[in-house]
């Protein structure tokens, strides 16, 4: 019975006390946090929920998409003309390389066959659109419009026309999540193109990159191009990653501080290429030489008894 907008206040049936409920929900949240962070057991729940949320997410993206389309429509003719011109020039500049690419590839395969080296994997990939940047301000990730339905797997490398953008870290049925190079937890093994010096490139603060663990006298110069070394078995070797911006050789520090900037448009949005998964080459058989010491060890242990 409600009199002028009031139902009778439930004096006695209010359930557990607020503090008890708070304690319950806070401990539940903390348990979830631990389960996700420490044991990574909640991926299946995330996958299911994300699949259910997908139509809603897509619908929320529509107005933004429409706005961008409108912006494109209103962009002036001259701008488009200029862009067209620039693209044509770029195509001409690269045509020379592209025309010889197949020839060089074949020659390379032949030479490798002659030298009895393992054949290099050809780079195959799928084009995907970057839909939006994930709302999470603590990490640098973007969502692309290809998912497990298109055969995308976690761990694949993502590149644009200039170089490496990032790596696929999570795959949903229709979308997948790319962790950008500039994310704090992302590291990538690289080598300096000029001299083949190997190092690890990791993110510094605020979207910059730094080359880690190189001695202060390491042969790195400003302007050096860093390419993937391929040692990780994830990225194909030789893909451009970053350029060295400053080299700070302060002797009081153990390592040189080498700041780099990504070559690819990591924080820009557009189309990217998801490279096919690289199958790591089998390691040479190490079983034979290690057999000896292990049996010796067993013998010596037996003697000790």
């Amino acid at each position: 019975m409600s009199v002028v907008g009031h139902s009778p206040p439930p004096f006695f049936k209010r359930g557990p006390a607020p503090l008890a409920r708070l304690f319950f929900f806070v401990s539940l949240s903390v348990a979830l946090l631990v389960a996700d962070l420490r044991f990574h057991t909640l991926e299946w729940a995330r996958l299911g929920a994300a699949t259910v949320l997908w139509p809603l997410q897509r619908a929320a993206y529509l107005p933004v998409d429409a706005g961008m389309d409108l912006g494109d429509y209103l962009s002036s003719l001259r701008e488009l003309k200029n862009e067209n011109e620039a693209l044509r020039k770029q195509q001409l500049a690269t045509a020379n390389l592209l025309l010889r690419q197949t020839h060089l590839d074949q020659e390379n395969q032949r030479l490798r066959a002659l030298l009895e080296m393992k054949e290099r994997q050809p780079a195959i990939g799928q084009v995907a659109d970057i839909l939006y940047a994930a709302r999470d301000p603590f990490s640098r990730r973007v969502i692309i419009d290809k998912g497990s339905q298109a055969g995308i797997e976690a761990g694949q490398a993502v590149v644009d026309e200039l170089g490496i953008v990032g790596q696929i870290t999570r795959v949903f049925p229709m979308t997948s999540e790319v962790t950008l190079l500039t994310d704090k937890d992302q590291a990538i093994p690289v080598e300096v193109q000029r001299n083949g010096l190997r190092a690890i490139l990791a993110s510094a603060s605020a979207g910059a990159l730094e080359l880690r663990y190189l001695a202060t006298n390491a042969d790195v110069q400003t302007g050096d191009l860093l390419v993937t070394s391929g040692l990780d078995g994830v990225y194909l070797p030789g893909l451009p990653v970053a350029k060295v911006v400053t080299v700070d050789r302060e002797n009081s520090l153990a390592f040189a501080r080498i700041a780099c900037a990504p070559v690819a448009g990591v924080e820009r949005h557009g189309q990217v290429l998801v490279l096919g998964r690289r199958i790591a080459q089998a390691r040479p058989d190490e079983a034979a030489p290690t057999q000896e010491p292990s049996t010796k060890g067993r013998k010596s242990r037996a003697r000790l008894k």
């Binding site: 409600s2 002028v4 907008g5 009031h6 139902s7 206040p9 439930p10 209010r14 607020p18 409920r21 708070l22 929900f25 806070v26 539940l28 949240s29 903390v30 348990a31 979830l32 946090l33 389960a35 996700d36 962070l37 909640l42 729940a45 995330r46 929920a49 994300a50 949320l53 809603l56 997410q57 619908a59 929320a60 993206y61 107005p63 933004v64 839909l131 939006y132 940047a133 994930a134 709302r135 999470d136 301000p137 603590f138 990490s139 640098r140 990730r141 969502i143 999570r170 999540e177 704090k184 937890d185 993110s203 603060s205 605020a206």
Partner: protein, 173 residues
Amino acid sequence: MQPTHSSRRILLPVKAWFIFLTLACAVFANLVPLGRFPILPDWVALTLAFWCIREPLKVSMGTAFMLGLIMDVADASIMGQHALAYVLLAFTAGQLSRRILWFPLLEQALHVFPMLLGTQLIMLLTRLIAGAEFPGFLWFISSLVGAALWYPLTYLLLLPQYRPVERDDNRPI
């Protein structure tokens, strides 16, 4: 219930489906991708704080927890981050509900601002412990914007309750 406890006008009772609808709209508004630094507030936190203050018996920590889980999945953040922050927000809002409703709307916003800021601080703390990078102070602006939107939001969400009790066929609403 009155608009604020000091006002003399008595409003219609709130409908449960309307609360659900506004919370769903807030989730939808949060899903709109606006890049890494949205100037717009966390709509879910704001709407949740509103209903926890207005109707502490109807909307409280259970709702907050569920909304938190939805936002965790939608934001691709770690599970439990939003849930923890929203549950604490709902608790604070519920406890302060009787105090806050005595104030006029602008002073209510002054109460809401530290609540939203606290929600962001809890999320920040969770992520920093998990090893994420500090997103910069610009991120906290969304709390400020959220508090500034308290005044229009209150009128918007109370609109259905402002209807008169008796029906009049000649009146448009």
